[in-house]
Symmetry: C2
Subunit: 146 residues, 2 copies
Amino acid sequence: MNIGEAAKRTGLPAKTIRYYEDIGLVVPSGRRENNYRDYGEQDVHLLQFVARARSLGFSVENCRELLSLYRDQHRASADVKALAEARIRDIEQKIRELEAMKATLQDLVARCHGDDRPDCPILSDLAHDTLQETACCAGASEGRPR
Amino acid sequence: MNIGEAAKRTGLPAKTIRYYEDIGLVVPSGRRENNYRDYGEQDVHLLQFVARARSLGFSVENCRELLSLYRDQHRASADVKALAEARIRDIEQKIRELEAMKATLQDLVARCHGDDRPDCPILSDLAHDTLQETACCAGASEGRPR
DNA sequence: CTTGACCTTCCAGTCGCTGGAAGCTCCATC
DNA sequence: GATGGAGCTTCCAGCGACTGGAAGGTCAAG
């Protein structure tokens, strides 16, 4: 099948599919006599595999590893599990960072009257608080005037 | 002061400070006779402002807006509040996506025995589940064989 | 006078695509 | 057979927010 059909079947843009070929992630079996890429069921299958892994936040390099484990009949499932667990740890870390940002912003927003007066605790905070080297912004509630 | 000192004071790499000048975000007052950038207290202050806003996840373009609001004596605090609230919504969206990924991965990990046998539910899932067009991967618990 | 730290500029690379230009192929319609 | 439009090809450039490195100028200490 042509790349357009493969795109429809996988939900990936044709551009992305070509890109995956460029970087050697999923390479279609061959070309037709008109030089069009030719995708078989197996290619579509692998592209779907990648699409799903990407949607779970695995990097392209992770996907390469996962694909190679997938193709390896003798892989140990522990290797795959380790990748997934590392990914979970990344996600948890990211969530913690975002929660910290959110808490700070919510605090700032709560203290801002948000009308047409120029006085604004949010700007005051950004201007005066020096940032701690923790997850993001530990205290953030002391917006004292300079 | 030299860029190195400004870097120390703001916690930003000198490279980044030069970059911010390049894109016109924070431009130091002038140069010394030896062509070195010269940063004053106010410059450091603005760089700290940007550093803090960035640490709260505001984009560089957001920072540009925040700086211009900060410099505008007649701004309405509502404008700032709106930016912060939009940022909170972005963060919440991102957190939801990450939570969905995490849940799916945790489910997969739980079902993977993780030993040296090749059989692996994680790979099976990646290989066979087609992804829903929702937040990320709605069901993800039905790894049925094709 | 040399060494080494610090500063300058400029260019390239990161990651994962995405857009666009220029040109070829295919199929349907006139 | 000509024409038009969709779909395919390649290649190059750009996104955001830096980061690394090369090549060279400047400064202070020994």
